[in-house]
Amino acid sequence: MSMKIQADRLAPWAAYLLVGVGALIMLAPFYFMFVFATHSRTEIFSLPPPLFFGDDFLTNLTILTERIPFWRNLGWSLYVALASTALTLLFCSLGGYAFALFEFRFKKLLFGLVMATLLLPSFMNMIPTFMIMDVLGWIDQPRALYIPGAASAFGIFLMRQFVAASIPRDLIEAARMDGCGEIGIYTRIVLPLLKPALGTLGLITFIASWNNFIGPLIVMRSPEMYTLPLALRSLQSPVNTEWGALMAGSAIATLPLIILFILSSRQLISGLTTGAVK
């Protein structure tokens, strides 16, 4: 009996310890990314690698801004990621809501189509996508990066699962009985209830757009129009890469993502949603 009580008391502490150690392992490479950003490529390519911050950050930054229009690339990345996130949240919440709570003809077939778009490896689409973009005159246009993926299968699927789990059909029926229009139901009932899901999808969409390099590789034909991943990659060659500059650029590039995570984590994990479902 006393053994059991002891185990009960110890178990949570063991769990906290485990989660804490796990968190450190998760963070380690992230820390090293910033450490590497402050070292020369000679030091980065040493073993063991540098464990603490060095003083080459400014040198790295200088090389970086000399070789590529870094701040401009960063600006385009922000613009594309924000536009892409806004459009995705709108289109996917609409689509997910429709697939979760409406009955309509061809629903299964259409949802199958949505899922099918997830299944083909994206680089097989490079040549035909390039042809479409040329026909549309979208080469070197940022819209070529945020419009095509805005109704992503991933987002629609995520929203459908969320709506199905958290919004009861009765609630929608009741609103209809009260004379609320379909768009009103979506904006005033569905959207507020989807906040955690919108936070999640927004975060993931932003990151996906931020890290996307196949898209810009297809459509961007001028270095000053590159988004960050393509620009940073353009520093890499098989034999002569400015690793220090590359790490500095990569580290700076994650800062907006961290800020975004902090902002969206309020939406995401701000405690339990209260009462709306009742």
């Binding site: 040549i127 390039f130 520093l235």
Partner: protein
């Protein structure tokens, strides 16, 4: 400016009008050539722009740089659709052979280009590499990678091994490696695969390719492969290779610590060793010809013009390529700043070749590389070369790591390659 009042306004407006007028006139006369490249060719092109501007002040050069692989994918995509092709594209030698199989690049021996009158100015093997089986020349060499053996003179001295012992034959190379390992603990080379890559390139009969002959017959069971595999196995069994791949941090650390005694590579490697891979080993390295008088190329860069590129720009593009590849100053600058070994033979008598290199202990190593560049022979390429290389590497891994019999391994490779040879 806004606050300075009315009286400046008309003046300003006039100036603005003139400026706009000038800009328009300028825009009409101005032309832009787009050069698609990858590092460090992008830097070399940018550095040549001032020289170009001297003769063509009205033609701007726009450099579009991408990561090495990204660049070649983007060029493949553009060639496949003929959309948005650059006026000039840089190509790495591995892609030159591959792109030569297709019909997307201009034959530069035909007018308005006429490379034929210049071919004697370039290192012969590089021109061969750009020549397709039909005799068309689809690219112009700008830099080449003559291969030599870099070795650590200090480690050799400590183990009483002479340079001649190291390079007399492949067998003496392996024997020297055993001595070096015994007395200094250093590995002979980074990976047994590196040696295999050179040995399979020695003794290729005229008309033969590396893996296939001109009739797509598979050659991987020939004696040069057997010998390459046997030598590589000896290296592994005697634990003479560090089992690290080039351009990893283990590789660079091996150089810093002096635990890798030799490295077969293009001339450009000593520059990278000196600049960042292992600057602390200054003075300890030397360059020698590859063992058994093997001559091989490590990389090389070319410029090409796509058939689908804007026709109006092609004469200018051709002029720009000639500047990049035939101008002594541009070629030597690229050599000095980026270690891009010139493809232009006229540079080879420059005093720069006779200067000593401090990183290589005061050796006049450029003479060694020059010698190598003149002896290299181009190998006929085959569509499946990239796949064949992968298959051979895989079978070599099985021989080295799992003790697979060499004849069985090469027979397996031959069987796989036969399936592909005619695809």
């Amino acid at each position: 400016m806004w606050l300075e009042g009315q009286r400046y306004f008309s003046c300003g407006a006039l100036a603005l009008a003139v400026m706009i007028g000038l800009m328009q006139a300028d825009a009409l006369a101005r032309q832009t050539l787009t050069v698609a490249a990858f590092p460090a060719v992008d830097e070399i092109v940018k550095a040549a722009i001032p020289v170009w501007k001297r003769s063509h002040p009205e033609v701007d050069i726009k450099v579009v740089s991408r990561q090495f692989g990204d660049h070649h994918i983007a060029m493949t995509t553009a060639l496949s659709t003929s959309f948005h092709l650059p006026d000039i594209m840089a190509l790495e030698v591995g892609y030159v052979g591959r792109f030569a199989q297709g019909g997307g690049l201009e034959d530069l021996s035909r007018p308005p280009f006429g490379i034929s009158q210049h071919v004697n100015h370039y290192v012969p093997y590089a021109v061969q590499q750009a020549t397709s089986r039909k005799g068309t020349i689809i690219a112009v060499p700008t830099d080449v990678g003559p291969g030599t053996l870099l070795y650590r003179a200090d480690l050799l001295a400590r183990s009483g091994v002479s340079e001649a012992e190291l390079t007399r034959s492949w067998d003496s190379y392996v024997a020297a490696g055993a001595k070096i390992k015994a007395s200094t603990g250093a590995y002979l080379l980074a990976h047994a695969r590196d040696m295999k890559d050179i040995v399979i390139r020695t003794g290729i009969q005229p008309g033969e390719g590396l893996y296939f002959d001109s009739r797509s017959q598979v050659l991987v069971t020939s004696p040069r492969f057997v010998r390459a595999f046997e030598l590589a196995r000896q290296i592994r069994q005697k634990r003479l290779d560090a089992k690290v791949l080039a351009w990893s941090n283990e590789w660079s650390e091996g150089f810093k610590r002096g635990s890798i005694a030799t490295q077969m590579s293009g001339a450009w490697l000593s520059g990278h060793l000196s600049n960042w891979l292992a600057p602390s080993t200054r003075g300890l390295w030397r360059a020698a010809q590859l063992p058994e008088n093997a001559f091989a190329a490590f990389g090389g860069t070319f410029f090409a013009i796509a058939k689908g590129a804007p026709a109006a720009n092609k004469p200018l593009a051709w002029e720009f390529i000639r500047l990049m590849t035939l101008n002594r100053e541009v070629q030597l600058n690229a050599f000095k700043s980026q270690d891009a070994f010139p493809a232009l033979l006229e540079t080879y008598n420059d005093p720069f070749f006779d200067q000593t290199i401090a990183f290589l202990g005061g050796q006049k190593a450029r003479q060694v590389w020059r010698e190598a560049a003149r002896h290299i022979n181009a190998v006929t390429v085959h569509k499946q070369d990239a796949f064949a290389e992968e298959v051979i590497n895989t079978e070599l891994d099985k021989v080295l790591d799992r003790g697979k019999d060499i004849r069985v391994a090469l027979a397996d490779a031959e069987r796989l390659l036969k399936q592909r040879a005619l695809r």
